[in-house]
């Protein structure tokens, strides 16, 4: 058995250091034996948790249920919004690529690779996000200008990524750089909303919501916020009529992130 394979127990116990973790996850992606063991050990440690059972403080229940009853509750601190725990393996190769200039494609892919490495270095728990960004970069080969701006944002030294899942499904991230004073919405597999509806972005200043750009539903999308970030305390996305709304409809708010 290779040494890397032996790390599977420590992986499930979350006992790997970051560099060991990267190495093991790269191995895990190609090792069915390890995948099976990860799942079995996951069930095993879940049983182990029985030995630790403690009744939580009663007030926690109310507080959690209250938080959940808000459409998209704000977390105790923004860090909690970092890439989702259950990272799905990024599907890096879109199947329906139209044939394009080989060299441009290769250059683009190289940049995408470079980008995903950069992003991985900058963003904690980068696996899921790397997948989003990688797919995003690869699927936007024509939009060079937009891409340059996106590249600039993604490689900004203070870039932060807030990932979450929208109320109606679809994995989204807000990519934010305060030094560039810019924020971008990135959606992966956005649910379709119909021709007469759009996703609408919002910047939040305390209790006030300011209407921002619109994004079509369906597929993978990226869209910069029109507004800069000064005074902005949060970002949100809702579903509105295609013309956009002046105020978000509370019932259709899909996700809110506190900066």
């Amino acid at each position: 058995m290779s040494e890397i394979h032996g790390a599977v127990g420590s992986y499930v116990a979350n006992a790997l250091d970051p560099d060991e973790l990267d190495e093991f996850e790269a191995h895990l992606a190609v090792c069915p034996t390890c995948s099976r063991e990860v799942q079995e050990f996951g069930e095993t440690v879940a049983e182990l948790s029985l030995l630790a059972s403690v009744t939580p403080p009663a007030e926690l229940r109310g507080s959690i249920l209250a938080a959940v009853s808000q459409v998209r509750p704000l977390p105790p601190e923004p860090l909690a919004e970092l890439a989702p725990v259950e990272a799905e393996a990024p599907s890096a190769t879109p199947v329906s690529q139209p044939p394009v200039d080989e060299l441009a494609l290769r250059r683009q892919q190289r940049r995408a690779r470079l980008l995903s490495v950069l992003v991985a270095a900058v963003v904690a728990a980068a696996l899921a996000m790397g997948g989003v960004v990688y797919g995003l970069v690869q699927s936007r080969q024509a939009q060079v200008a937009q891409q340059t701006a996106a590249t600039e944002l993604l490689t900004a030294p203070d870039v932060r990524t807030y990932s979450t899942t929208m109320k109606d499904g679809g994995q989204i991230s807000f990519v934010v750089s305060k030094s560039l004073n810019r924020a971008m919405f990135v959606g992966k597999d956005l649910p379709a909303v119909g021709n007469d509806k759009r996703y609408q972005l919002w910047t939040l200043e305390g209790q006030r919501a300011i209407a921002d750009n619109l994004v079509a539903g369906g597929g993978d999308r990226q869209q910069f916020f029109r507004e800069g970030l000064s005074g902005i305390t949060g970002l949100a996305v809702s579903v509105e009529d295609a013309g956009g709304a002046q105020q978000p409809n509370p019932a259709t708010i899909q996700a809110v992130t506190e900066l």
Partner: protein, 211 residues
């Protein structure tokens, strides 16, 4: 501290759609019920989520508290975890494993992340981990079935070698990295890695866990 004298959840336990029976049949029924509750949560049914909370919160909170030691931090992580479970309920798939494994994995990972980001604040007594780590404390069982389940797991742990048990306990309940476990046990890293994996294999086989 003895928590078993505390009153049960003030909200009370909601009725379960399937009565729990003894042994693995009961566990399977409960596992299937949790899958159902996840599906209902994914469709926005808060009552289902409340029941999911009632059925899982002791284990999820227990593991978070055991890793973090600080009730304040544990409550915060607990809230994060459940809100995230709610948010991601549509993304849970039973092909990835049981609901409880999905939740405890998320809880453990977040607790460990928290420990590593605030370890300077939280005073973590290493001797405590070494000598109390695998002894259950501050716990309550809500009935015979659970007591039997606990007994089964405790027996499984007892079937491991002392080093396997200690390495696994420090890593899982202590929230230590394998290098820290190696330092604590004064063993080479490779040995610790193997012991943790062997410990999990032993426990998996003792419990008859299947993926």
């Amino acid at each position: 501290m003895n928590v078993s004298s505390l009153p049960p959840d003030s909200e009370g336990q909601p009725s379960r759609s399937a009565p729990r029976t003894e042994g693995s049949r009961g566990r399977e029924t409960e596992a299937a019920h949790l899958v159902e509750l996840m599906a209902l949560s994914a469709r926005g049914h808060e009552y289902a989520f409340a029941e999911l909370y009632d059925l899982t919160s002791q284990r999820v909170y227990g593991i978070i508290l055991r890793v973090l030691r600080s009730p304040d931090h544990a409550a915060e992580v607990m809230q994060e975890v459940y809100v995230e479970v709610w948010r991601q309920s549509a993304r849970y798939s039973s092909t990835k494993g049981s609901v409880i494994a999905w939740m405890t994995t998320m809880a453990h990972r977040r607790a460990v992340d928290r420990v590593r980001s605030v370890s300077s604040e939280v005073a973590r007594d290493e001797r405590y981990a070494l000598h109390r780590g695998d002894r259950e404390i501050d716990q309550v069982w809500d009935g015979v079935e659970q007591r039997l389940d606990v007994e089964r797991v405790r027996k499984g742990m007892a079937s491991l070698t002392p080093i396997q048990r200690e390495a696994l306990t420090l890593a899982y309940f202590g929230g230590y990295t394998q290098s820290q476990v190696a330092q604590l046990l004064k063993l080479p890293l490779g040995t610790v890695k193997t012991r943790i994996r062997d410990g999990l294999i032993g426990l998996r086989d003792a419990l008859g866990v299947e993926a």
